[in-house]
C-alpha cells in the first residue's frame, strides 16, 4: 500500500546480506556498504550513533574555535579582536553549541551505539524514529549555526534571559534562530528519549533484569527520563519566546506586566536536569571503563545505580540555585540552597565507589583508563566548587563571575568531555575494528588535562577577584591580566591536545590498514559487558543469536568462574564465548528516506517563520509528505533478508501470536507510533503557525 516509492534497500537487501559471509561492519568496509546514500537512509543504531558522534565532533570544532576567539579577545586587557556585538554572539553561540550540539549529542552517540548492544538487543525499539532523531538534531544544529550567515548569531547568552531576548533589545534574527533551532533539537531529544526508554525497558532479552543492566545503560536510561520530562519545559519556554518575538505575545513583555522570572524558572527547570543529562552518560562510561582496567567488578553496583537514579531525581528540585540573586524570596533561596547541597551526597557516592573500585585492583593505565581517572578527580574539583555555589550567601559574591565559568567547565569539560574521550579510546575497536594508538593517546590525554587545568584553574581566581563573566573586555587596572593570559595559553594547549586526538585517529587507522587490517578480536580489553560478546566491529545485526542473561556482567561470567576456593579461574576464552557475527539470517529493519525528509522539513518551516511565512508552505508540504510516506511505508522491506513465517515457524511453542499489530521486534513497530510521534513532532513545529492563525485571527 505504499503510496510512495520504497527506498532502496541498500546494504540490507537480500544480496548484501546473503552474499557476505561476514556481515558488514559499521564503517570499515566502504566497498561493501555501498554508497554514501546508505548513511542517509540507514536505520541502524550503530551507524546512527557514529553519525551522532561525527556531527558532535564537527560542532565541537566550531564551538572550540569560538572558545579560542573568546580567549584571544580576553588574553589582554582592552582586547580588540572582537567588537562587543560580535563577542556577545560568539560566547552565546559557544555556550549553545557546546551544550546542545556537542555534549548532548555526544552522549546520544554513545547511547545509541551501546545501549542496544549492552542489553543484547538487535536494535532500538523504533529504528526509523532513531534515524529521525539524528537528522532532526543535525538539521537543527545546522539551522542554529546558519544564523552566522544571516546577520549574526544569537546574542543573549546561552540562557538568554528575558526581556533582553525580546525584539526590542535584540532586534537581529539571532535569537529567533536560537529559539527555533533549540526547539528543533528538542524534538530530536524527545523522540530519542521515548525510543531509548522503550528500548531499555521493553527490549531486554531473557534474563536481563533491570538490576543486571550495565551501569552505562542505567545512567543513560536515567538521562533519557530526564530528557523526556525536561524537554517539554524548555519547549514551552521557547514557544513563548518565539511567539513574543514573532507574533507580539506578551509572555515576557514587562511593559504589559509580565514577569521576567517566568523565563528563568522555565529555563532552569529544564536547565538543571540538563546538566545531569550532560554528566550522567559520562558517569556511565567511567563506570564501565574503571572496572575493566582495574580487573574488578564495579564497587557497589546497586549503590551506583541507586545514586544515579537519586541524582536524576534530586536534579528536579534544585533549579533555583541559578536564581539566588534574581530576587526570589529568601525562603525559596534557603530551600533551594539546601536541596542543592545534598546532591553532593549521591554524587560523592559515585566518586568514592570509583575510588574503591580502583583500590586494590590491578590497574592498567592506558589512555581510556587515564581519561576515566581524570574524570574522577577533575569532576570532583568542579563538583566541589558547585557546593560552594550552593551556599546561597556565598553565591551572591560568586554568581555571574568567572568562578562560575570555572565551575561549569570543570564539570563539563573535566567530567563530561573527558568521559567521552575515555569512551572513544575504550570502544573504538568495537566501533571501527582497530585500537587507537596508545602513545598518541597519552599525549592527547596529558595535553588535554594540563591545558584544561591551565585554562580553567585560573578562572577560579579570576572570578573571586571579581571578574564578571560575559564581558568583552576588562580594564588593566583590575588585576585580571595575568591569569587571563595564562588561561588563554591553556586554551591553546587544549586545542593542541584535541588536535592530537584527530591525528591519532588518522595515524592509527593508517597503521591498521598498513598492517593488513588485523582484527582486534571481539574483546580486546578483557571486558565485562555484552557489547564485547560479538565481533569487532559490531556486525550489522549485532548478535548472531539471542543471549540469555544469567548475571550482571554476563560476558565476564561466561569467561570466568570460581574454583572450590572461590578463586577466579578462566573457564573460556573470549573467542570461545563471543559470537563471530557470521549469522546471515537475521531480520533487519529496512532503511528509509522518510526520517531525513521529515527532519529536513523542520528547518525549512523555521526559516519560513523567520523570513516569510510562504516558505512554510513547501516546508509543511514536505513534512506532510514524509509523514504520510512514513506511515504507509512498511517498516520492513519484504525483500530484506529475512524469513517471515514461511520457514519453520514453530508457533505452538509460543502460543497464539497475532499476525501483525503486535509484532514487537525492532524495526517492526513504529508504524502507529509515528502517526502520533510524527504528529507530535509536526505539532511542535507546526503549531506555531496554526497557533497564531487560530488566535491572531
Amino acid at each position: 500500500m505504499a503510496i510512495v516509492e520504497r527506498p532502496l534497500a541498500i546494504g540490507a537487501g537480500d544480496d548484501a546480506i546473503e552474499t557476505n559471509d561476514r556481515p558488514l561492519g559499521s564503517v570499515t568496509r566502504p566497498k561493501e556498504t555501498g554508497s554514501w546514500k546508505d548513511w542517509l537512509t540507514t536505520v541502524d543504531h550503530k551507524k546512527i550513533g557514529i553519525m551522532y558522534g561525527v556531527a558532535a565532533m564537527f560542532f565541537f570544532v566550531i564551538g572550540g574555535a569560538e572558545a579560542l576567539l573568546i580567549r584571544i579577545q580576553l588574553a589582554t586587557p582592552n582586547g580588540t579582536l572582537l567588537s562587543p556585538d560580535v563577542y556577545n554572539q560568539v560566547f552565546t553561540m559557544h555556550g549553545v553549541t557546546m551544550i546542545f550540539l556537542v555534549a548532548m549529542p555526544m552522549g546520544a552517540a554513545f547511547t545509541n551505539y551501546l545501549l542496544p548492544l549492552q542489553l543484547g538487543a538487535r536494535d532500538v525499539a523504533f529504528p526509523r524514529l532513531n534515524a529521525l532523531s539524528f537528522w532532526v538534531f543535525l538539521f537543527g544544529g545546522l539551522f542554529l549555526n546558519s544564523a552566522w550567515l544571516f546577520g549574526g548569531g544569537a546574542d543573549g547568552g546561552w540562557f538568554n534571559y528575558a526581556p533582553n531576548s525580546s525584539v526590542t533589545f535584540s532586534p537581529s534574527h539571532g535569537i529567533d534562530f536560537y529559539a527555533l533551532g533549540l526547539q528543533i533539537t528538542g524534538v530530536a531529544s524527545l523522540v530519542g528519549a521515548i525510543n531509548l526508554i522503550t528500548t531499555a525497558l521493553n527490549m531486554r532479552p531473557k534474563g536481563m533484569t533491570l538490576m543486571r543492566m550495565p551501569i552505562f545503560t542505567w545512567m543513560n536510561l536515567v538521562v533519557q527520563f530526564l530528557l523526556l520530562f525536561a524537554v517539554p519545559v524548555i519547549s514551552i519556554a521557547l514557544f513563548q519566546l518565539t511567539f513574543d518575538r514573532l507574533f507580539d505575545a506578551n509572555f515576557f513583555n514587562t511593559e504589559a506586566g509580565a514577569d521576567p522570572l517566568l523565563w528563568q524558572h522555565l529555563f532552569w527547570i529544564f536547565g538543571h536536569p540538563e546538566v545531569y543529562i550532560l554528566i550522567l552518560p559520562s558517569f556511565g562510561i567511567v563506570s564501565e571503563v574503571i572496572p575493566v582496567f582495574s580487573r574488578k567488578p564495579i564497587f557497589g553496583y546497586s549503590f551506583m545505580v541507586a545514586s544515579g537514579v537519586a541524582i536524576g531525581f534530586m536534579g528536579w528540585g534544585v533549579w533555583a540555585h541559578h536564581m539566588f540573586v534574581s530576587g526570589i524570596g529568601p525562603i525559596s533561596v534557603a530551600a533551594f540552597s539546601l536541596s542543592t547541597m545534598f546532591i553532593a551526597v549521591p554524587t560523592g557516592v559515585k566518586i568514592l565507589n570509583w575510588l574503591a573500585t580502583i583500590w586494590g585492583g590491578k590497574l592498567r593505565f592506558n589512555t581510556a583508563m587515564l581519561f576515566a581517572v581524570g574524570v574522577v578527580s577533575m569532576f570532583t574539583i568542579g563538583g566541589l566548587s558547585g557546593v560552594t555555589h550552593s551556599v546561597a550567601p556565598a553565591d551572591t559574591q560568586q554568581t555571574d563571575t568567572y568562578y562560575i565559568v570555572a565551575h561549569f567547565h570543570y564539570v563539563i569539560f573535566g567530567g563530561t568531555l573527558l568521559g567521552f574521550f575515555s569512551g572513544f579510546y575504550f570502544w573504538w575497536p568495537k566501533m571501527f575494528g582497530y585500537k587507537l594508538n596508545e602513545k598518541l593517546g597519552k599525549t592527547n590525554f596529558w595535553l588535554q588535562i594540563v591545558g584544561f587545568n591551565v585554562t580553567f584553574g585560573p578562572m577560579h581566581i579570576l572570578g573571586l577577584q571579581g571578574m564578571s563573566r560575559r564581558i568583552d573586555t576588562y580594564d588593566a587596572g583590575f588585576g585580571f591580566e595575568r591569569w587571563n593570559f595564562v588561561a588563554t595559553v591553556g586554551a591553546f594547549i587544549i586545542a593542541l591536545g584535541i588536535a592530537f586526538f584527530f591525528v591519532n585517529v588518522a595515524v592509527s587507522r593508517n597503521q591498521w590498514i598498513k598492517a593488513g587490517r588485523p582484527n582486534p578480536g571481539p574483546d580486546p580489553w578483557d571486558a565485562r559487558s555484552l557489547e564485547w560478546m560479538t565481533a569487532s566491529p559490531t556486525p550489522v545485526h549485532n548478535f548472531d543469536e539471542e543471549i540469555v542473561v544469567e548475571s550482571q556482567d554476563e560476558f565476564w561470567h561466561r569467561k570466568y568462574g570460581y574454583d572450590e576456593n572461590h578463586n577466579v579461574v578462566r573457564i573460556a576464552t573470549a573467542a570461545e564465548v563471543a559470537q563471530d557475527g557470521s549469522n546471515t539470517n537475521v531480520h533487519l529493519p529496512s532503511p528509509s528516506y522518510f526520517p531525513i525528509l521529515l527532519a529536513l522539513s523542520m528547518p525549512i518551516i523555521s526559516y519560513g517563520l523567520i523570513y516569510s511565512l510562504w516558505l512554510c508552505i513547501p516546508g509543511g508540504m514536505l513534512m506532510v509528505y514524509s509523514m504520510v510516506g512514513w506511515i504507509f511505508e512498511h517498516p520492513d522491506d519484504p525483500n530484506a533478508a529475512h524469513d517471515h513465517h514461511d520457514d519453520g515457524h514453530d508457533g505452538d511453542d509460543h502460543g497464539a501470536l497475532p499476525d501483525s499489530g503486535t509484532e514487537l521486534e525492532a524495526g517492526d513497530g513504529d508504524e502507529e507510533l509515528v502517526a502520533v510521534g510524527a504528529g507530535a513532532v509536526g505539532e511542535t513545529v507546526a503549531s506555531d503557525v496554526v497557533e497564531t492563525e487560530a488566535t491572531d485571527g
Binding site: N78, P84, N88, V167, T168, F169, S170, P171, T254, S294, F299, G300, F303, V325, S326, G327, P330, L338, G348, V349, I351, N353, A356, I358, G360, G361, K362, L363, F365, V373, V376, S377, T380, L384, V387, T388, V391, P393, A394, T396, Q397, D400, T401, N453, G457, I461, L464, G466, M467, S468, R470, I471, T473, D475, G477, F478, W483, D526, V568, V569
Partner: protein, 437 residues
C-alpha cells in the same frame, strides 16, 4: 617501569601544584573588585569568612580524592598491557563503606547548611536605623536610609527619597520625583546599613559592589527582595553590572562612595540645590523658562542654550533646563537619561568607565568628556540605530552631531556643576582611577 611513568610523575606534580594554586588563590589580588580582600562591609566580610571555611572543606575533600587516586596508582598499577590469568583482586565488601561515605558527606553538609542559614538570615534581615539629616531649606528629617537603585542600558541611577514614600509598593515609573538623583555613583554615610530597592527600566541587570556585599539582580517590573549594603570605612568601592544586559554590559559599572556623616550631610545639602550659574546667566535661564527668546551672550549662556536645545529633551540639569519637561521615554528605550545637575560631583561618567576628574592631575577630564559628547559610541558601544522601523527609540546616548564649539561650551558648563566630594578636604583620595584607556 612502564614507559608512561615519567609522564605520570609529571602529572602528579602538576596536580599538586594545581592544588597549591587554589590554596593560594586568595593571595592573588588587591584588585578593586576582589571578593576576598579589601572588604569594607560587614556583609562582605561575613561571606568571606564563611567562604574561607568552605574552600578549606573543598581543599580537604579534593586532597583526599586525589591522594587516594595517586596512592592507588602508586600501589596497584601493573606493568605491561596484559593481565596474567590469575590476577584477580577480590572486591572489598561494600555496604559498610557505602554507608560511611553517604553519612560523612551528609553530616558535613548539614553543618554547612546550618551556617548557611545563619548567614542567609544575616544578609536578609534589616534593622531600623533612621539617621537625621538636614534637607532642603533647613528642614530636619529622620531618614531611614533607603536608596532606589535603577538599572538601565547601560548605567545605574540612584534615587534618594527623603519624604514619606512607600518605595516597595510602586513600580519605578510611578515613583514620585526623587529628592536627589545621581547616576553611576551612590554616596552613602559610613557605618550605616543602607537598604537598597533594586529594579530596572529595561532588561535585567545586577547590582554588585563586591567590597560591601554580594549582588542582587535588577529585574524590570519587580522590586528586588530587600538587599542592603554597609561600608564601615570611608572610601570608593567599585562595582560592575553582573547580569548580561546586552551590548555594553561590560561597560556598565558603578561606584559607592562612603562618606563620614558630616561629609555626607554636606553632600546632601549640595545635591539638593541646582547648578550655580552667574547671575546674568541665571536671569537668562529665567527669561527662557518664561518663554523669552533672548539670544545668548557669552560662552556660559551659549552653553546653556545648547544644552536646552540639544540635551534637555532627555537630560535634566537643574538651573539650566528650567521650564523644559524632558521626555527621555520618547527617545530612549529605557526611558531615562542621567540627571546631570551635579555631574561635577561625580567621579565617573558614561556608565562608570570614564573619569570625570583626572586621577593624576585632579583636573576636570575635558578631553574624554569632549570625546564622549562628539561621539559616544567611540567610548562605549551603543546601538546607534533606532529600535525598528516603527519604533524610533534609541538605546544609549546618540551622536548628536555637535560642533566643536558646542562641545567646548558644554564641557565648560558641565565643569561648573561641582567638585568631587571630599573626606576631610581630601578629594584626591576619592578620585579613583577607572575607565578604559
Amino acid at each position: 617501569m612502564t614507559r608512561f611513568t615519567p609522564s605520570m610523575r609529571k602529572g602528579v606534580k602538576f596536580l599538586a601544584l594545581l592544588t597549591a594554586m587554589f590554596v593560594f588563590a586568595a593571595c592573588a589580588g588587591d584588585a578593586e573588585l576582589d571578593t576576598r580582600s579589601n572588604l569594607a562591609g560587614p556583609e562582605a566580610q561575613s561571606i568571606e569568612s564563611f567562604m574561607r571555611v568552605l574552600l578549606w572543606i573543598t581543599y580537604i575533600v579534593f586532597a583526599f580524592v586525589l591522594a587516594i587516586t595517586v596512592e592507588a596508582w602508586r600501589r596497584f598499577r601493573i606493568k605491561g598491557d596484559d593481565y596474567e590469568d590469575d590476577e584477580f583482586p577480590a572486591q572489598i565488601d561494600h555496604s559498610k563503606w557505602e554507608i560511611v561515605w553517604t553519612i560523612v558527606p551528609a553530616l558535613i553538609l548539614v553543618g554547612v547548611f546550618v551556617f548557611t542559614l545563619g548567614l542567609h538570615n544575616q544578609l536578609n534581615s534589616s534593622e531600623e536605623n533612621p539617621i537625621s539629616l538636614v534637607v532642603g531649606d533647613g528642614a530636619n528629617v529622620e531618614w531611614e536610609p533607603e536608596i532606589v537603585v535603577v538599572g538601565q542600558q547601560w548605567w545605574w541611577e540612584y534615587q534618594y527619597h527623603f519624604g514619606d514614600v512607600e518605595l516597595t509598593a510602586q513600580r519605578i515609573e510611578t515613583l514620585p520625583d526623587a529628592d536627589i538623583t545621581t547616576a553611576t555613583q551612590m554616596v552613602i554615610p559610613v557605618g550605616t546599613e543602607i537598604e537598597l530597592e533594586i529594579t530596572s527600566r529595561d532588561v535585567i541587570h545586577s547590582h554588585w559592589i563586591p567590597s560591601l556585599n554580594g549582588k542582587r539582580d535588577a529585574v524590570p517590573g519587580r522590586q528586588s527582595a530587600p538587599w542592603k549594603i554597609q561600608a564601615d570605612e570611608p572610601g570608593v568601592f567599585f562595582g560592575q553590572c553582573t547580569e548580561f544586559c546586552g551590548l555594553s554590559h561590560s561597560r556598565m559599572r558603578m561606584q559607592v562612595i562612603a562618606l563620614p556623616m558630616a561629609e555626607f550631610q554636606e553632600w546632601v545639602t549640595a545635591q539638593m540645590e541646582g547648578v550655580e550659574l552667574s547671575p546674568e546667566t541665571a536671569a537668562y535661564v529665567a527669561d527662557l523658562a518664561a518663554g523669552g527668546t533672548t539670544a545668548p551672550e557669552g560662552t556660559e549662556q551659549r552653553a546653556v542654550d545648547t544644552f536646552r536645545t540639544k540635551c534637555a529633551s532627555c537630560h535634566v540639569l537643574d538651573g539650566v533646563t528650567n521650564g523644559i519637561v524632558s521626555r527621555p521615554e520618547e527617545q530612549l528605550v529605557s526611558g531615562a537619561a542621567p540627571n546631570l545637575t551635579h555631574f561635577g560631583t561625580r567621579t565617573t561618567f558614561a556608565g562608570g568607565i570614564v573619569n570625570v576628574w583626572d586621577p593624576d592631575t585632579g583636573d576636570f577630564n575635558r578631553n574624554q568628556l569632549g570625546q564622549w559628547l562628539r561621539d559616544p559610541s567611540s567610548i562605549k558601544a551603543n546601538f546607534t540605530e533606532p529600535v525598528s522601523e516603527d519604533d524610533a527609540r534609541l538605546r544609549g546616548m546618540p551622536n548628536l552631531g555637535l560642533t566643536a564649539q558646542e562641545v567646548d561650551d558644554l564641557v565648560g558648563l558641565l565643569e561648573m556643576t561641582g567638585a568631587p566630594p571630599t573626606v576631610d578636604g581630601d578629594s584626591e583620595f576619592l578620585i579613583s582611577e577607572t575607565g578604559v584607556e
